[in-house]
């Protein structure tokens, strides 16, 4: 078991390192001229500078060194917690991220919980209810959830619940009431995704032979679905938990913009607009960390639910 844990942690670290590297490749190697990019972020045009100024700028951004050295420098600094400085605001990236993280964290957490509850309930009902029209509706509904653009749904909800019904404020970070609409908007696509996967998984599980054995014992459909099917059906859904969290974090980019909230998402949108490379890199790495952490937790929980993994089968 210990070997399993160590293995998974090591894997997580490798993935993290690789994510950092890929981000570096995209942001520093992809642009035709990284220098022009960074100067533009500071609202300086490359052509307006003299060769001396250009050389000085290059040195300042560390772009005068060969690529692999640049990479190593950045990596080492990152490992020490120094993620660079924002080109636009000149604030240390770390500070910037730290200040914007809490509201996004809260929002994401609430959204994930809502998504889990919504998705699970929907899937459970879809597999349990036997009245055909209802089942059809419950199965088709998630389709709608994944097809509608998130930002549009946000706008729609604002229009209906804020501007028309006046139940909640439309924008801003004022207390829990302004968290409702953004959280719901964020939760819809992920809960729909979850519902789709879980419904299919439940349906497949309910056709397994051991379900017949269970029913032949005299258990009711509800008991069978709850006690026998759910645990087995949850296994494939656990594996997408990491993806769901990743999708939620990604969703904050548009949702925070639509609802004019401060947070990492909106910071990302602004930084891309301003081509603020260090900040974008910092945010991507942060998301990778979140994703890797969630996956690690899932990997560690998985053997507790599925005894077939890790247990040395002592077949006699």
């Amino acid at each position: 078991m210990l070997r399993y844990v160590i293995g998974r942690v090591a894997q997580a670290l490798v993935v993290l390192w690789a994510a950092y590297t890929v981000t570096f490749v995209v942001l520093y190697l992809l642009p035709s001229d990284p220098l022009a990019l960074m100067l533009a972020a500071n609202n300086v045009q490359l052509d307006s500078l003299s060769p001396d100024q250009i050389a000085a700028a290059r040195a300042r951004f560390g772009l005068d060194q060969p690529v692999h050295l640049q990479y190593l420098h950045l990596l080492v600094r990152a490992l020490h917690g120094d993620l660079g400085t924002s080109l636009a605001s000149h604030e240390p990236v770390r500070q910037l991220l730290a200040s914007r993280l809490p509201p996004t964290l809260v929002l994401s957490l609430v959204a994930v919980v809502l998504a889990l509850v919504g998705g699970v309930v929907l899937a459970f009902l879809a597999a349990y209810v036997q009245w055909r029209p209802a089942t059809l509706l419950l199965t088709r509904l998630p389709s709608l959830g994944v097809s509608l653009p998130t930002f549009w749904v946000g706008l729609l909800l604002i229009q209906v619940f804020a501007f028309t019904l006046h139940w909640v404020p439309a924008t801003g970070n004022l207390g829990w009431r302004s968290d409702v609409l953004p959280a719901v908007t964020l939760a819809i696509p992920t809960s729909a995704s979850l519902a789709q996967v879980l419904t299919r998984s439940l349906r497949d599980t309910l056709h397994e032979p051991y379900i017949t054995t269970a029913r032949a014992k005299g258990l009711s459909r509800f008991q069978v679905q709850l006690r026998h099917a759910s645990r087995n059906a949850a296994l494939p859904t656990l594996t997408i938990l990491g993806l769901l969290v990743g999708a939620t974090v990604t969703g904050t980019v548009t949702v925070e913009t639509v609802f004019s909230r401060t947070g990492i998402g909106r910071l990302a949108a602004e930084s891309v607009l301003g081509q603020d490379v260090p900040v974008v890199q910092g945010i991507v790495v942060l998301t990778a960390v979140a994703f890797v952490l969630v996956n690690l937790v899932v990997d560690l929980i998985y053997p507790l639910i599925d005894p077939r993994v890790v247990h040395a089968p002592k077949v006699v």
Binding site: V15, V22, T23, S147, L155, L156
Partner: protein
């Protein structure tokens, strides 16, 4: 020690030729092949036909927008600004008096083009990665899959954002960015399918029959593996449309007055209170397109 069977039994006539199992059609000379049967089953579903027709219509409108509208998407008419939907203007007008429906139709050109390019990029890269990885296996597979796993650690849209930061704004960078974001999922699915088919008995039979690896790959594995991949491609087309729309909503797409769908919705935000249709109708349209694509994909998957 014999299971003594009465002589009568031996004289009994031999069993009739095996009955065709229930569920198979009876044989006639001109019975359609399984492929033909599948097509018929698909066409018998009204939802599928409707969704497919709608998608085709939208794609056609992307190619020849002039067919679908007579207005000019760039013609401003300040007098008619922010009129609600009606007979003259099906979707109403925007803040500069332009007919919204026309803007949506012309916007489809940009958005669909971008989404299609993204899918093509994803297909080419993802299929190659998946097939090479799944078929040849070994260390190549291990390395490639580690790379894909990493790419999954950075969600598609974020990767797209990074690419846009590096490449700049506009329809092409957005297309490339979204395409790169979709590659890992594609590679994964293709690999899984190739692996599944590779272990089927008929592959081994072909091997025992003397088939070379190249023949097995081209004649057996690929034709049997492309099914789920095709379904995923249709689904991802929808995802690509949503991603392109999101990126242009955030301002990274083609500059105004170009009418990408996301940009349309973004501009309408400022008028949400007074003229909600400027944002909401284009968004609804996008939702319908993606919903139809999803329905088509799911039906294709069910009827197999």
């Amino acid at each position: 020690m014999t299971l003594d069977v009465s002589p009568l039994a031996r004289v009994a006539p031999p069993a009739a030729p095996e009955a065709v199992p229930a569920g198979l059609l009876t044989f006639g000379e001109d019975e359609p092949s399984p492929r033909g049967q599948r097509l018929r089953a698909l066409l018998r579903r009204p939802g599928f036909v409707l969704a497919l027709a709608f998608v085709v219509l939208v794609i056609v409108s992307a190619l020849v927008p002039r067919f679908f509208t007579t207005y000019d998407p760039y013609a401003t008419a300040p007098a008619a600004r922010l009129t609600p939907p009606g007979a003259a203007h099906w979707f109403g007008t925007d803040e500069l008096g332009r007919d919204l429906y026309t803007r949506v139709v012309f916007g489809s050109t940009l958005t669909i083009e971008a989404a299609l390019s993204a899918i093509v990029i994803a297909l080419v890269a993802g299929l190659t990665l998946g097939v090479v990885s799944g078929f040849f296996g070994g260390w190549l597979d291990a390395v490639l899959m580690r790379v894909v796993d990493v790419s999954l650690a950075v969600p598609g849209l974020l990767m797209a954002l990074a690419v846009v930061t590096a490449l700049g704004f506009g329809t092409l960078p957005v297309a490339i960015a979204v395409g790169i974001g979709i590659v890992p999922g594609f590679a994964r699915t293709t690999r899984a399918e190739v692996l599944r088919v590779k272990t089927l008995p008929y592959i081994e039979a072909a091997r025992a029959g003397g088939a070379t690896r190249r023949r097995i790959l081209l004649r057996h594995v690929l034709p049997n593996a492309w099914g789920p991949v095709a379904v995923l491609a249709v689904l991802d087309f929808g995802v690509a449309i949503l991603s392109v729309a999101a990126l242009s909503f955030l301002g990274f797409g083609a500059a105004p007055p170009a009418a990408e769908w996301g940009t349309l919705i973004a501009r309408g935000r400022d008028y949400l209170v007074t003229a909600p249709w400027v944002s909401l109708l284009p968004g609804l349209f996008v939702g319908l397109v993606v919903l139809s694509l999803n329905h088509v994909a799911r039906t294709l998957e069910e009827v197999r």
